[in-house]
Structure formats: structure tokens, C-alpha cells
């Protein structure tokens, strides 16, 4: 990748493709994803293939239909913008045959302008990777792998409802390192114990169980990790277990000590804490995810995928979402707009709303929203536009004099976000 491309990178849009299938739905997960077994029973054994074909058909329509293309692609003057990140997420896209991933990437490259040095991420699950698959991904152009490890404790993996074991995860990481140097591992902390029928209540994740993960990350020199504080989302299995009194969640204070410890440990070991839940070695931040927090446009393809794109020359943006109904997504037809109709506009954002979003999302980053970028995007002064909010946040020690998140702000970041809602 030429360094001049990197200079331009922050303004280039990102491309997200959603693959909603998993081996099995995890207990904490409220993402748009389905256990593939259920889907095969309902839609037939070739459901994954059909899903990809539906995606391909939509991509063909983007080429043919100007209106669809204009809606899905931001333009730089006369040319469609050049994407510099591609992120295939899920679900577990790694569940699909490597050939389908390869065809998808090939197809994306013919439909969209994708830069030569683009960051191409694929999400995988430790139990669906194999040496062959990994080699094929690499050959197909994937250059960053994101693996959901979540924990290295067998009992906690079990509690989470994960399908892999700690050993499988360690071997998968080993294998991945053969083909990829740019790797992210996802972890969860604050994992609950689950009351067993005979053993009574099992304890929640201990600090030493967390330390195992931290030591692994450091010793394996993983360039990027996420540590997510477990949140019980409505409608999940965990939600039901909690209602039934079966979850033994860690005390708030214990959960926060875990966060404080992992933060300390990772930064001591050369990681940069750049977003509330994300850490990386210098230069290895997720360029794709940064787009979400930097107010950069992105195109979302696939079931339930969201796009955030300019909508009019007056600076309005739209955040719109493709249908989340799998049957609707799979439906085919000669009508060219059949692949178009499943879009739902979530928000129309005028400049003011975009500014507030920029602030809110910017404060997910430890460095806070960038005033220079703000000036470039909105032709205004962040300090002036939000003087009152910034002052209040400083008074409450949620951000520092330098407009960066404080340690206090990291624990109570919603207070900051709400300031811009």
C-alpha cells in the first residue's frame, strides 16, 4: 500500500457485508444471526449458498441500476468514492465455504471501487477455521482476521454458550498466525456463573480467569484485541436466565476492577487503548471500525446491514437498513427493484444531527472527537458549537482539559453520550 493512500484513508468510505449464520446462537448474543441448523431445516440444506446468491444478485443490480448504485455509493465529484476497508461480519462468515468468500470479494471488487491497500477483515469462529480455509481466505484477499475467542476458560465458554473449547481457540490462533499478521481477538469480561442444578450457584468470572486471556494475548503478540464488558441484552438467553434468577453476575465493583486491570495490563504491554473496548499495537487499529466513530460514510450489504451515506448536497446524511427478514432478503424476481425494497430509513441526519453524532461517537475513542476533522467535515468549531457540553463534561471529570476521556469517563461514558442526544 502506498503511503499516499494512507494519507487519504480517513475520508474513504467503508464497506460492510453481513453474513447472519452461526453454528449456534450464543447466550449473550443479540446480533442479527441465526443458528445454521435451524435455517437449514426451514430453508433447505443450501441456505448459506442461497444467501450468497441473493447477495450476488443484489450486487449485479447495483451495477445495472443507477438509482441503486447512487444510493449505496457515496460520490467524490464525478467518481464513486474509493473504499479502503471491507469488513465481512456476522454471524460467523467463516462458516461459509471459503470459495463463497472468495467469490464475494471478487464480486465486490467488480462492483465497487476498492483501493489497493484496503483493509479486508473477515470474522471467524475458532471452531470453523482450518489450515485450508485460512490459506484460501488469504489468497482471496482477506488481510485481517477477527476471531471470537471470548474466554480461555472452559467453564466460562460453556456459560457463554460458545461452541469451541479453550484448546480449540489456542490452536485456531496458532493456525491463523501462519497466514495473517493482522489479527483481532474478541474477548468478553464480567462473564456470569450459571446456577447448576446440583452444584448450586457457580461463581462469576474471576480475575485470574481474565488474566489467562491477557497473558495469552501478550505472549502471542496479538496486534489487536477487544474486551467487551458483558451486557445482558433483552431477548437473549442470558436475559431469560437472569429473569429466572439463574445468572450469577459479578459485582459491579469486581467487573470494573477487571476492566481497570485489563486496561493497565495491556497498556503496560505496549497496547494502545484507543476505544472503550478496543486495544491495539501502534498502527494496528481497526481502520474499518474507526469509520463508525469518525463519522465516515459506509455502505452496508446483506441482511439487516446499515448504511450511512450522504443523501443530498446540503449535507444531510441517511442511515438506512436493509431488511432484517431472511425470507424477504432471499426472495428473487425479475423486477429490478426487488432487491431494493427491503430498505428502511432509520434516520435522516442534518448537519446539526451529524455534529451531535460525531461528538457522541467521537467520545468512544480515548482521544475524543478530533477538532481538526470536525472543522473539515462541518466547517465549524467544535469548541464553539459545543462549549456548554464540553464545559459540563469537564466539570464532572468525564473528560479532561484536553477533551480526552478520563478514567472516570470510561466507566460512565453513557453520561457523555447523553450530553449529545
Amino acid at each position: 500500500m502506498a503511503s499516499s493512500d494512507l494519507q487519504k484513508a480517513p475520508e474513504a468510505p467503508g464497506l460492510y457485508v453481513h453474513i447472519p449464520f452461526c453454528v449456534k446462537k450464543c447466550r449473550y448474543c443479540d446480533f442479527l444471526s441465526f443458528g445454521v441448523g435451524d435455517c437449514r431445516r426451514r430453508y433447505g440444506p443450501d441456505i448459506i449458498e442461497r444467501y450468497f446468491y441473493a447477495l450476488f444478485e443484489q450486487l449485479d443490480a447495483v451495477v445495472k441500476e443507477t438509482a441503486l448504485r447512487d444510493r449505496l455509493t457515496p460520490r467524490e465529484a464525478e467518481l464513486p468514492a474509493c473504499y479502503d476497508t471491507v469488513y465481512i461480519g456476522g454471524g460467523t462468515p467463516g462458516l461459509a465455504d471459503a470459495g463463497l468468500i472468495a467469490r464475494l470479494l471478487e464480486k465486490l471488487a467488480t462492483v465497487f471501487r476498492i483501493g489497493g491497500g484496503a483493509e479486508v477483515t473477515l470474522e471467524v469462529n475458532p471452531c470453523t477455521v482450518s489450515d485450508d480455509k485460512l490459506r484460501a481466505y488469504r489468497a482471496a484477499g482477506v488481510n485481517r482476521l477477527s476471531m471470537g475467542v471470548q474466554s480461555l476458560s472452559g467453564r466460562l465458554l460453556n456459560n457463554l454458550g460458545r461452541v469451541h473449547t479453550a484448546d480449540v481457540a489456542r490452536r485456531a490462533v496458532d493456525a491463523a498466525k501462519k497466514y495473517f499478521d493482522n489479527i483481532n481477538l474478541d474477548f468478553i469480561f464480567g462473564i456470569p456463573g450459571i446456577a447448576g442444578s446440583c452444584a448450586g450457584s457457580a461463581p462469576p468470572q474471576s480475575i485470574s480467569e481474565l488474566r489467562d486471556c491477557l497473558r495469552f494475548v501478550v505472549s502471542e503478540r496479538i496486534p489487536h484485541v477487544s474486551f467487551y464488558s458483558l451486557i445482558i441484552e433483552p431477548g437473549t438467553e442470558f436475559d431469560r436466565l437472569q429473569t429466572g434468577g439463574e445468572l450469577c453476575l459479578p459485582d459491579d465493583a469486581d467487573e470494573r476492577s477487571m476492566y481497570h486491570e485489563l486496561r493497565y495490563f495491556l497498556t503496560e504491554n505496549g497496547y494502545i487503548h484507543y476505544e472503550i473496548s478496543n486495544f491495539s499495537k501502534p498502527g494496528r487499529e481497526s481502520r474499518h471500525n474507526l469509520k463508525y466513530w469518525d463519522g465516515t460514510p459506509y455502505t452496508g450489504l446483506g441482511l439487516g446491514a446499515v448504511s450511512y451515506l450522504p443523501a443530498s448536497p446540503n449535507g444531510d446524511y441517511l442511515r438506512f437498513r436493509q431488511t432484517a427478514d431472511l425470507s424477504e432478503f432471499l426472495s428473487t424476481g425479475s423486477d429490478p427493484c426487488v432487491k431494493d425494497r427491503g430498505y428502511e430509513i432509520q434516520e435522516r441526519l442534518d448537519i446539526d444531527a451529524r455534529k451531535r453524532d460525531y461528538m457522541m461517537l467521537g467520545f468512544r475513542k480515548l482521544g475524543g472527537p478530533d477538532p481538526e476533522r470536525y472543522r473539515r467535515l462541518f466547517n465549524g468549531s467544535m469548541a464553539e458549537d459545543f462549549s456548554k457540553e464540553l464545559r459540563l463534561l469537564k466539570e464532572r471529570d468525564l473528560i479532561g482539559a484536553d477533551n480526552k476521556l478520563t478514567a472516570h469517563g470510561l466507566d460512565y461514558a453513557n453520561e457523555i453520550f447523553m450530553m449529545f442526544i
Binding site: L32, I231, D252, Y292, A305, V306, D357, A413, I421
Partner: protein, 603 residues
């Protein structure tokens, strides 16, 4: 003007949900005042709130014409009555305006507590009671059993009680016939000096107060100068007339036996109070009609706007409600915790709730209400006596000689199987048992002396829940009695929240304090720091709870698709905060104030 022999003044009485309003609607429909198309269900209960709660708050009246099978044309005045103990006085005045009552009994449920309470009230007022058996269309209907019950329990002949279904319109004609046959025509002397009983009033922006009257003797017409006998205030009559559904029908004169209205450019509704007697200045009656009581508010509380900027709107709203509600009183007050608001006086807790709901619904106001209080007399060592209706003004304990609290005589009518429960409830509320009378084999009347401040805390709800709704309650103020009362303060994070303070009997203070602390612990959200909740008397802490601190408030993830959804979550969180009131650095939701109000309701 109608021939007095052909006038029938009556009301409809029933247990809740036995079909009083539906029958009223059918009668209106049958007598042709309303076509079916014009009808909105339950025309008489015309406040949303009344319809929702199935209770009548304001009395309503309507005049109808009916041609009976005897060939005569009758004038019917149907008067709807309020149905709650808070408004018992209003009910009794309304009944005084009638000669008869149609008693509606549900054919599937039979006689219930309210049926009896209402029947006895009607009989006390010498009304002719015409029983009808409703809901005969229901599969569970047992009209013959109910007929027998009416005869056995109430002692009313019921052999020819009409079997009706107000809902589907069966038997309405028969009810109308019996009203003509059985209810006596009003008596009265048209030539005697005017005596008109005020049974309700409301404020009309163009005509001033519209005074609902039953003319007992004499007559009144436009141009007369009338005098209200309780106040001596005089006005010139601008209009008299009769009631049509939803409107007024002016007439030249109204005279003895008739029900109608008087308008006399009266500005203030408190000048036309229920129960007062109207007479003529030129030829006054020698004495007023019996039974007048000046209505005094018995329950007080502070009402504050959640948003201080709504103070003026709240004041305007109270003035508007006051136009139609003589028993509502208010004056400005300030609270350290709640800012500027009003000290309001009510007839009882239901009246309070109704006003509160109307303020929020009809005027779209977000309000905070303090714990209700009664009027106490505080005797100071200096010999001075203070009238206290606000815990905030509770004097320093060392200056108090003793305190007296208002007492009521409570009459509870109940099936005998609930006597134990009621005894328990009344004892718990510091009641003193006075008497128990058997009405008949299965039904008793219990009499207790009770402190009013115990009755205003959801006593009515507790009574209903302990008797499966069968008991009915009536109470009247009997006087004041010395009592060991203390002021209970609630401290949040070490700071007294004046709006949560209340006056309570010493012996009950501990239990109540503990309950409040527990409840507040549930409703006060966790903050970034620990919040002690302390209940104390004087400086002494008698109960304590702690709201634990929360240590995190952060969305772990926020990516592309999530942003709109997460924003909505944050919006909700922010909205919740807005509705809270800041005390020092503690945010208290409005719920906390209601908690104290409804402390015993979920026992």
C-alpha cells in the same frame, strides 16, 4: 311549565358496574332526547375520568318527556349522583332533590355492599325506591333469585320489578312506566316564599355560575333578586331554565317541584355551594332547608410542577378547576426540595387523585405531589395554638405542649364474614371499636372511631381489598382528640427532603419509617455514589437503607448498525433522568413521592 302532578324527580342508584350509566343512556334514547346516532355511550358521565373509573364525580341532570300508557305526558328529571365516600355530602344533597330512586341490581351478581349503602341512603331521604333487575341477557343471570334477595335483604317489594337488559334495550319501557306509576309527584307550595336547594353548580364562561336547583317552594324567574341563605349574598337572576342533554333550555320561570338551573352572573362558584338554600330578597323564606354544611377540605397536600417554568400554568389550571369545584382550595407555598407550588385542600384522597389526574390530563402538567396531611391543632407551651396542615411547619418539639388530631366516626357495612378482617384493619389504623349491628342475618354495620389521618392513607382501598369489594364506608368528622404525633423526616444522602416529611403517630412511626426506607431504596436509581436513606424523628434515626452505587454506565459496543438503536436506548435513559428531581446531588424520580402516598396499598 309542567303540571306538578306530572313531574317525576328521580335518580338511579346501583353498585358499581351494575349498569347505572347504561340504563341512563337507554332512558335518554327511549324518550327521544337523543337519536342513536347522536348518542355517545354513557352521556351522563361526561368526564373522561368518570368513564374510565366508572364513577360519577359531578352530579348531572337532564329533563325528559315521557308519554305513559295512561295517556298522560310526564316530565322526568333524571339526576345522576356521585358515588364515592369523598362526595357523600354531595350525594345526600342530590338525593334531597328527588322523590324517587331507580335501584339497579345485576341479575347475575345480586345485591352488593354499595347497593345496600345507596338504598339506605335513599330511604333515609324518604325516596320511593323502584327496583329493576338488569343484565337478564347474561347467561349467569338469575333474575328470580335476585328478586327474592331484594325482598329478603332490603325488604322492598319486588314482585313486579322489571326484568331488563339496559345493554340490549330490553324492558326499558317498563322502567319508564313504573317511574310514572310509583314515584310520587313532588309536593311543595308554589305560592310560598322561594326555597330552592342547590345540589350542584358549574362555571360557564358566558353566564357565570350555573346553579343546579330543586325548587321546593315558590318560584323564580328572570329579573328576580335571589339570596343565598348561608352567605346572604344577593344576585339578579339573568336566566332560569331546564336541562337538556349537554345543553341548557331557558324558560320563563321555574317553580315548586321542578329541577332546573339559575344563572345570575355569579363570578365565584364558592358563592353557590351545594346544600345552600336560595330564596328571594323581596319575600325571603323564614328558614333555610335543613342539612346545609359548609364543605371543608379535609386533606391537604403540596402540588408542584416538575418543571419550575410550569408554575404559572399550574396556577391557571388550578383557577380553572376551582371554577367548577367549590371544595378545592389552594394557596401558594414553597418547598426547599420542590421549589414553588401550591398547598391544596381536598374532600378526600379520591378528590385529590382526581384533581391531580385532571391537572396532568387536561392541562398536560407534570406534577409532584407531597404526602397528604390533615389539619392538626398544635398547642404550644406558650399557650398559643397553631393550625397545622403542612409537616414543614411543624414547630420545634421542645415548644409543643400537645397535639390534637381530627377524628371521624366511620360506619362500615359488610357481609359478616369480613368482620374479622375489618376489625384487624381498623385496629391497625388506631381505630376504636364502637358498635356492631346486624342488619339481617348475614350483614352487619360496624362503627369505629378513627383518626382521619389514618383514613386518608388509602384506607378505602385497604378496606375494599380485605372485603373483596363488599364493604362500604362512610365517615363524618366528630372532633379533635389529643394524640402522640411526631414528624417523620426522610434524609437522602444526609439531607432532609421536606416534601417527603409527614406527621404520624409515635407508635406507627417505626414501622412506617422502615417501609418507606425500603420502598425508596427500590425506586431511587443507583447513582455513582452510595446514597444512605434515613428516616428520623427529631435528630434520631429510626430506619436506614442504602442505595448501592453503580460503578459503570457504558455501552460496551457501538458499531454501524447499532448506532441508531443505541441512540434510542440513550434517549430513553436521558428521558428518564429528565423526569427526576434533583435533591443535592441525588436524583429522585416522581415515583418516590407516590411511594410514600401509597405505602400500604400492596399489603
Amino acid at each position: 311549565m309542567a303540571d306538578r302532578d306530572k313531574i317525576r324527580n328521580f335518580c338511579i342508584i346501583a353498585h358499581i358496574d351494575h349498569g347505572k350509566s347504561t340504563l341512563a343512556d337507554r332512558i335518554l334514547e327511549k324518550t327521544g332526547v337523543l337519536t342513536a346516532r347522536e348518542m355517545e355511550d354513557q352521556v351522563l358521565d361526561n368526564m373522561d375520568l368518570e368513564r374510565e373509573r366508572g364513577i360519577t364525580i359531578k352530579a348531572q341532570a337532564v329533563r325528559l318527556n315521557y308519554k305513559a300508557s295512561d295517556g298522560n305526558e310526564y316530565v322526568y328529571n333524571l339526576i345522576d349522583t356521585p358515588g364515592h365516600v369523598d362526595f357523600n355530602y354531595e350525594v345526600s344533597r342530590t338525593l334531597s332533590a328527588c322523590e324517587g330512586a331507580v335501584l339497579v341490581v345485576d341479575a347475575s351478581q345480586g345485591i352488593e355492599a354499595q347497593t345496600l349503602a345507596n338504598v339506605y341512603l335513599a330511604i333515609d331521604h324518604n325516596l320511593e325506591v323502584v327496583p329493576v333487575i338488569n343484565k337478564i341477557d347474561l347467561p349467569a343471570a338469575q333474575p328470580e333469585a335476585v328478586r327474592k334477595e331484594i325482598e329478603d335483604v332490603i325488604g322492598l317489594p319486588a314482585e313486579d320489578a322489571p326484568l331488563i337488559s339496559a345493554k340490549v334495550g330490553i324492558g326499558i319501557e317498563e322502567v319508564l312506566e313504573q317511574i310514572a306509576q310509583k314515584i310520587p309527584a313532588p309536593k311543595g307550595d308554589e305560592t310560598a316564599p322561594l326555597k330552592a336547594l342547590v345540589f350542584d353548580s358549574y362555571y360557564d364562561a358566558y353566564r357565570g355560575v350555573i346553579v343546579y336547583v330543586r325548587i321546593v317552594d315558590g318560584s323564580v324567574k328572570r329579573g328576580d333578586t335571589i339570596r343565598f341563605m348561608s352567605t346572604g349574598n344577593e344576585y339578579t337572576v339573568t336566566e332560569v331554565g331546564f336541562f337538556k342533554p349537554g345543553t341548557l333550555l331557558p324558560s320563563a320561570e321555574i317553580s315548586a317541584g321542578e329541577v332546573g338551573y339559575i344563572a345570575a352572573a355569579i363570578k365565584d362558584i364558592t358563592d353557590a355551594t351545594v346544600g345552600d338554600t336560595v330564596t328571594l330578597k323581596e319575600r325571603p323564606a323564614a328558614e333555610p332547608l335543613p342539612g346545609y354544611k359548609a364543605v371543608q377540605p379535609m386533606v391537604f397536600c403540596g402540588i408542584y410542577p416538575v418543571d419550575g417554568a410550569d408554575y404559572d400554568a399550574l396556577r391557571d389550571a388550578l383557577f380553572k378547576l376551582k371554577l367548577n369545584d367549590a371544595s378545592l382550595t389552594f394557596e401558594p407555598e414553597t418547598s426547599q426540595a420542590l421549589g414553588f407550588g401550591f398547598r391544596c385542600g381536598f374532600l378526600g384522597l379520591l378528590h385529590l387523585e382526581i384533581i391531580q389526574e385532571r391537572l396532568s390530563r387536561e392541562f398536560d402538567l407534570d406534577l409532584l405531589t407531597t404526602t397528604p396531611s390533615v389539619i392538626y391543632y398544635v398547642y404550644l407551651t406558650s399557650g398559643e395554638v397553631i393550625t397545622l396542615d403542612n409537616p414543614s411547619n411543624f414547630p420545634d418539639v421542645s415548644t409543643i405542649e400537645h397535639i390534637e388530631e381530627p377524628m371521624v366516626r366511620g360506619t362500615i357495612m359488610t357481609p359478616k364474614e369480613y368482620v374479622g378482617n375489618i376489625m384487624e384493619l381498623c385496629t391497625d389504623r388506631r381505630g376504636e371499636f364502637v358498635n356492631m349491628d346486624y342488619l339481617e342475618e348475614t350483614r352487619v354495620v360496624l362503627t369505629f372511631n378513627l383518626p382521619l389521618n389514618e383514613v386518608i392513607y388509602d384506607f378505602f382501598d385497604a378496606l375494599k381489598s380485605r372485603t373483596r369489594g363488599y364493604a362500604s364506608l362512610d365517615y363524618e368528622l366528630t372532633g379533635y382528640q389529643p394524640s402522640k404525633l411526631v414528624k417523620l423526616d426522610i434524609m437522602l444522602n444526609g439531607q432532609i427532603v421536606d416534601a417527603l416529611s409527614f406527621i404520624v403517630h409515635e407508635e406507627k412511626a417505626y414501622g412506617r419509617a422502615r417501609k418507606i426506607a425500603e420502598k425508596l431504596k427500590d425506586v431511587i436509581p443507583r447513582h455513582q455514589f452510595e446514597i444512605p436513606i434515613q428516616a428520623c424523628i427529631g435528630g434520631k434515626i429510626i430506619a436506614r437503607e442504602t442505595v448501592k452505587a453503580y460503578r459503570k454506565d457504558v455501552l460496551a459496543k457501538c458499531y454501524g448498525g447499532d448506532i441508531t438503536r443505541k441512540k434510542k436506548l440513550l434517549e430513553k435513559q436521558k428521558e428518564g433522568k429528565k423526569r427526576m428531581r434533583q435533591f443535592g446531588n441525588v436524583e429522585v424520580p416522581q415515583e418516590a413521592f407516590l411511594t410514600v402516598l401509597k405505602l400500604d396499598s400492596d399489603n
